[in-house]
Symmetry: C2
Subunit: 368 residues, 2 copies
């Protein structure tokens, strides 16, 4: 157990934003909410997974919706108390701790706000080890855990409890309600026992985010080439470096869909690439060859600051470094790929781990 | 208290279909569901409002969705038990009786199916005295009763509990979930105390439906002109008689919108009329003059059988008699008109009671 205060939040938000793979919301927005709660209510106890009893009732906290909306539509402030009351009452169980469900600029932070406000500890684990666009895409689905009963509430005070026959139905119904509530809502889902979190959760995700954030911040202080330092610190596989020449966007079905076109710079001069996204980056391509796909993480960072760039902040002229990160191992299983592999997102491609795919593709194009 | 068995159902369904004002679903479909339940589980005890204790917990049962869908998408059979369990658990109260919430071919019948299957009595009252397209349009909204906590379940086994800040928000959220579930869902809403039902419910609606149904069936047996008999039995105000020349339809936002164009027959020869609907008939017009509007009931019946014709059964060539019926008195109050008057449905018209409006309009056009 350790205390997470204001100092630690910066690094966690920054590192989680990288793991957000372009999604999971703006870390600035997320951090403001968590900062406010910790300033008002004090630091949060972060528990490692091994510190929670098997029969402890663990309740994830997240925001659902299109990240573009999150930046403009504020929280009401009472959401976490409402979720706490709904979940406690519906399950008729005492909540032992909150937990994040995904990494990302916003969804790494909101659980801290909830934990601070309700005086509960937070578990250092989540259900993705990254961000994904649809709510059934969690390791707990692979484990057969039902997303429901799921609680949802909005800033106006509307609240809904879902109980569905599959996690895909949860996604369907919770998504339309979220859209009707104005595009974002606060949710608790995959409420489960400590034992399940130990078996299937992505362990130490907060600590990993914090280390990543700290590393990004100190990249330029180290000796040698900052980009090399960044790749070493993040364990990133370099995919492309380029300038954004266009961003095609569409908000559809409550998601931000789009494609960022890139023109190579530096050693990539004369080459072109693109990244496609549905809230999160899904696939990256260089000179027509796919270099990385979901469920591996595709992250775009600023070439100067190495700050991660969420998909809704992609703009013409920005210079970006695209990297690939290995996803949590469960995602590479057949069940994981069925949930969040390239074919689920309508790509006519088999999944190839990024460390192999990137190398092959880049050697074909003479880049590696 | 009296027993409602198979014999009574026919008349209740027929009369309720007339009060459905074109909506509330096909009485044939509704009756099949209720018949099945009563055959299997026995007759249902119908309680008059005065027979229920003030503190009895009364739970309405209805189907939500576009009537066109109800005719094609069956019930799963477990919906009422699911609603019973959800409501009992969420309110932590023992259900004393079920109740219909609207009159109409389907929603007058499903509460009988629920009552038979769960072995509960049914209260002889509802919240409309007719059918309306949106769920906040009930006398209980005028009384300030919250529609939520509301329970919703579909035939697949998905279930949802809503708790909203206004009844308009209930409509919004429950509607999108209903649409996602395939266009129809079973619901319990406006769960309330016996005292409230006594004060604000539309009393004796089942008994009134039954009498109306019996009267329609015997119209042709009486002496004299069948149409005159029908008007006398239904207390209907004659608006038009004509042949349908076209029906314009659109399914939008989970509703059946449309307009039926009529060419006069008999004493209306050479004249034209139309009826506009959103699930239920909203306004009727003769020679360009509005003859009736919501919240009064506009009902189209077959000119030969006097059977009510739901909006989704309107077809080219059908000969129809259009009548107006006075709505329940609460609908004529300022609060009632705000909820379900012509302006709510975007008509630039003040409400005028049908008995006055029809007379004035018809005298203008030389018809009365």
């Amino acid at each position: 157990m350790r205390k997470i205060g204001i100092q630690e939040l910066d690094d966690i938000a920054l590192g989680a934003a990288l793991l957000g793979s372009g999604g999971g919301g703006d870390p600035y927005v997320g951090k403001l909410v968590a900062l406010g709660a910790i300033k008002e209510c004090g630091p949060v106890d972060l528990l490692s997974v091994d510190e929670i009893p098997d029969d402890a009732f663990i309740v994830p906290i997240a925001m659902m919706g299109a990240p573009t909306v999150l930046a403009e539509k504020a929280l009401g402030g009472k959401e976490y108390k409402t979720l706490y009351d709904m979940v406690s009452r519906f399950y008729n169980r005492q909540i032992f701790a909150f937990m994040p469900i995904e990494a990302g600029g916003v969804n790494s932070m909101l659980p801290f706000a909830a934990a601070a406000r309700l005086g509960l500890p937070l578990v250092d684990a989540d259900g993705m080890g990254r961000a994904f666009p649809e709510l059934q895409m969690v390791t707990f689905t692979i484990a057969g855990v039902n997303a429901t009963p799921m609680a949802l509430t909005d800033e106006k005070g509307n609240s809904v409890i879902f109980r569905t026959v599959t996690n895909k139905w949860t996604e369907e119904l919770a998504r339309v309600v979220t859209m009707s509530c104005g595009g974002s809502a606060s949710v608790s889902l995959y409420c489960t026992d400590g034992k399940i979190v130990k078996q299937y959760g992505v362990r130490d995700i907060v600590t990993r985010s914090e280390k990543l954030g700290r590393a990004i911040r100190s990249v330029k202080e180290g000796a040698g080439n900052p980009e090399e330092n960044f790749l070493a610190a993040s364990e990133g596989i370099k995919l492309f470096r380029g300038k954004i020449t266009d961003v095609l966007r569409e908000v559809r079905g409550g998601f931000n869909f789009g494609k960022a076109l890139l023109e190579g710079i530096g050693e990539y001069k004369g080459r072109s690439g693109y990244v496609e996204f549905q809230n999160e980056n899904l696939a990256a391509s260089v000179d027509g060859k796919t270099v990385a796909t979901t469920p591996d993480l595709i992250c775009l960072v600023d070439t100067e600051t190495f700050n991660p760039i969420p998909t809704d902040a992609l703009r013409y002229g920005k210079r970006v470094l695209a990297i690939g990160l290995k996803c949590f191992e469960s995602w590479r299983s057949p069940e994981g790929l069925a949930l969040a592999g390239p074919r689920y997102f309508k790509y006519d491609l088999d999944y190839v781990p990024v460390e192999i795919r990137a190398k092959e593709a880049l050697s074909c194009t003479g880049l590696a």
